[in-house]
Amino acid sequence: MKLLNLLRHISLKHIRLQKAQLAMAIAGICLGVAAMVAIDLVNISVLKSFEDSINHATGRASLQITGAESGFPEEMLDRIQNLPGIEYAVPVIETNASLAGGQERSIMILGVDVLQDHQIRDYSLTDESADIPDPLMFLAKRDSLLLTRAMAEQEGIKIDQEIKIQTVAGLKTFKVRGLLNPEGPAKVAGGDIAVMDVYAAQMAFGKVGRLDRIDVSLLAGENLDAMKERITLALPAGYDVDTPAGRTRQVEILLGRFRNSMGLISFMALFVGMYLIYNTVSISIVQRRREIGILRALGAGRLQIAGLFLTETLAASAIAALLGIGLGLLFAKASIGLVAQSVTDMYVKASVSELAFAWPAVLKNAGIGMLASLVAAALPAIAGARITPVSAIRAHSYTPDGFLLSNRIRIAAIGCILISILCLVLFESAAPGSHLRSLGLVFTAVISLLAGVSLAVPILLKWFIPLLHNLLAVCFGAQGRLAGLNLQKNVTRNGVAVAAILCSIALFVSSANSVNSLRTSLFEWFDSIIRADILVSSGHPLAAGGAPTIPMPGEMLGEIAKLPGVSSVEPFRKGRVSYNGRKVLLEIFDVALRMEYCPAMIATGKREDMASLLPGQDNVVVNEAMAVKDRIKPGDTIVLPTPNGPVRFGVAAIIVSFTSDSGVVWMDVNTYRRHWRDDLVDTFEVLVKPDAEIKTVRQAILDRFGQERKLFALPAAEFKVEVRKILDRSFVMTNAVNILTLVIAGLGIIVTLLASVLERTREIGILRGIGMTRSQVSGVVIIESALIGAIGGVLGAATGILIGWIEVEGIFRLDFGASIGYHVHYPAIGLALLLAIGLSTLAGLYPARRAAGTNIVEALSYE
């Protein structure tokens, strides 16, 4: 009741008076919560789209058996079907294809046993067709397929219409025998799915004698775990037997780093919002200092005073959180397409049709926003509670209590910086693969450094501003000198505004530098890898990142090699295999040929070993990320699952490859074909003769194969440009949140300067009284705000360079290996400084106008 009385009779009235100040504080937390809600919802939606796809495709299957990505022998189906406890075991081919003509859309092909599959999946067909699909007709006419009604409407396709689909064997004609209603499997991949007979799919997509998956339903009463065990034992090593939920978990693991980094950057927006809250509450306490003193004199306890400000903050943050949820939903809707595209580019094909709203995630982030606000308000609230009644109620002009200049704060600042250094030392000195080499330690180092430098800002301002007085006077005359003095007078309050700018600029610069480091290292590596002149694939080579493209028959190599102007052709195949509980990327090519023209970057081991040990032999190389994660060194062996069982491969060297953060294995094509019996190719890398033109050779390739299949023959230079675009696209969200943090910091400056102008009302009245013009008064305020931005910008840039190094050292190297160098992006630093000063100056315009509009008579009688 005591607190309620204070809230009702005091807080509510202050809220009415300080609407602008309160609104800005709410805006800061609102934006922070919005960023977190948006990113969380987007992540959940992307994962849910995978989960839905898996579930829709799964039907009533309790377990799913998968093996090599190129398919496993169909004999495994017999082994499973005969096991006790199995109700139905049905074969599945699941692969990507593209619809030729129209929008050239990428579709998923589901090849099923048309006689049995209805036991697992329900198919609901529209009955418009005169020729209702009969399973036997599917068996008799191998060109039959079912499309979804959604896709048919979008492409203008009717039943009984013939369509061309790109297959391994080239463009093939199929007939649409029916249209699937949007239920069950028809909802997979956003409706971009076609169903055909399994045998027809095997033939069309180069999987003769092989399957991609077996879906299993169990007899009633069978124990799931026991069946899983039974099936696993019945199969050779290297097969995955998992529930549909387990497969979703696999995707979750694959996307783990991506999701974590997005979550971190969204938290940073809230982190900067906390500075805004701190500043707003601090200013409020200063403005209400006398009131606090009176309340304390009348018998308000310290707890009541602190509780008053914390409760006001809680109420404001609750409003901010609610608004943030709404704004976050809007942000999420606006960005979900972009994020899905980034996931598709870098990991697996993601088709997200709608935003998944999850109350737990939304409430969690709202709660974090409110908690963060309370944490930010705690320090000033406690400081306010410690104001002695005597010092507050005397009729003296307020002098800062110097809390932020106290020894305790100095010690805290040094302490935080030391913690950061300690974390880095621990990280660097830990052995690769040790638990100390963790993201948690890296984040602690970053946050501690930011906190330490922020705490040191008031002290730094106190030391350095006096040094600037003369310079300011020279550059800006009396206005400059006054501006410097004003900054110095309220070092604690201005220090918080500087710290907010520092924080957001540091994030901006660190992100620019770490992205630049990744880009530079990636492109250096890329240039070393892509030495071909033309990349030939059926399907855009970057259409679906890690997802398989439509492979081509190996025989095409000979045909391409014969074309005029072609110097050599190298086959490239890729796929994912299971290793140590996760999927790693297997890259297959002609190692001997590659070593002739491509300087592969070796991290550990000898290039000669790679050249001599790989071609045709059971040896591989792995990338740094895999070597670190799994503690592999040259000379070790690893076991990889093949369609014929696990095979032990020797590790010849550790190479630099950034293709996948979960792990990359290079294998010679002859070795791969021997074990996997798969001579399909994803990309032909063509080297053109020195005297031939790339354009001419490219056209020759397209002319040779254009009739029978849709081909992409992309000059390598264009390919590199596309890769750059993909990488830049993946950082759009990071850049968006960085801009958001700058906006929040800008709000902090407005709050700070408004409070400063209010405190100096009498002083401004005196200055105006003795002849200072309105424009001179506003000039002082604008110079102050520009100074805050400049100082925050310089400190932020310096801190950002350090944090960028920590990110590269701690995060990128953890994921990609030690070969990522640190490359400072100087243009970004220049931009950051301009942004800091520009935004701060902009933020100073409104307070400057208020100051310039001060009524002289009122100001001189102000107390």
């Binding site: 009779h9 009235k13 008076l17 006398r290 009348l298 018998g299 306890g301 310290r302 009729a395």
Partner: protein, 229 residues
Amino acid sequence: MIELKKAGRMYRQGNREVYALRDVSLLIKSGEFLSIMGPSGSGKSTLLNLMGGLDQPSSGEVFMDGKPLHGISDYELTLIRRRRVGFIFQFFNLLPLLTAEENVGLPLLLDGLPFTEVQPKAAALLRQVGLGERREHRPEQLSGGEMQRVAIARALITEPAVILADEPTGNLDSHTSEEIFLLLRNLNEQGQTIVMVTHDSKAAAYGSRVMTLKDGAIAEDMMIAEPAS
């Protein structure tokens, strides 16, 4: 009811130690109206602050009704201020956002009483000080004298053991000052213990006892009338 035993208060200004009060011993009985006088910097306000628990002595002891005010926790001191002491300040120190009624009721609101219970008491006290019609007015709408009356009503609402007034008429004209002194004298005649700091010798004459401070110590302590019973 208030007793100081060799109480002193020292402040640090940079490297200097400044003694605002040195070894002050005195006893104030219930019903007294003590006026404390002295030149600027003599320690008058410091003495008042120690008596009212606004500050703690750096040496010596301070008692109220036999209970020590020195060395106790801030929480206990706060409760004493809230329930046992009524303050009147030179600059009124009303909360500008609150109405007169809310300002008067503030100590009880701090004690957790609902406003519905506090409001009648506050209204009655405002009538007592002649401001019954100004209950809903905020300080900016009141004159200096009226604001000080509100402050007096606020000081009375908890039926305190003592009222401490620090230069209560320092910001008022002579006519209004006299009204305030008469009001205080009336309260004392009803048995209220009052300690008042003033630099005005005419004001001091309204009390029953006059004490003069000089350089932080008691220079003179004179009874001029019998305390109210």
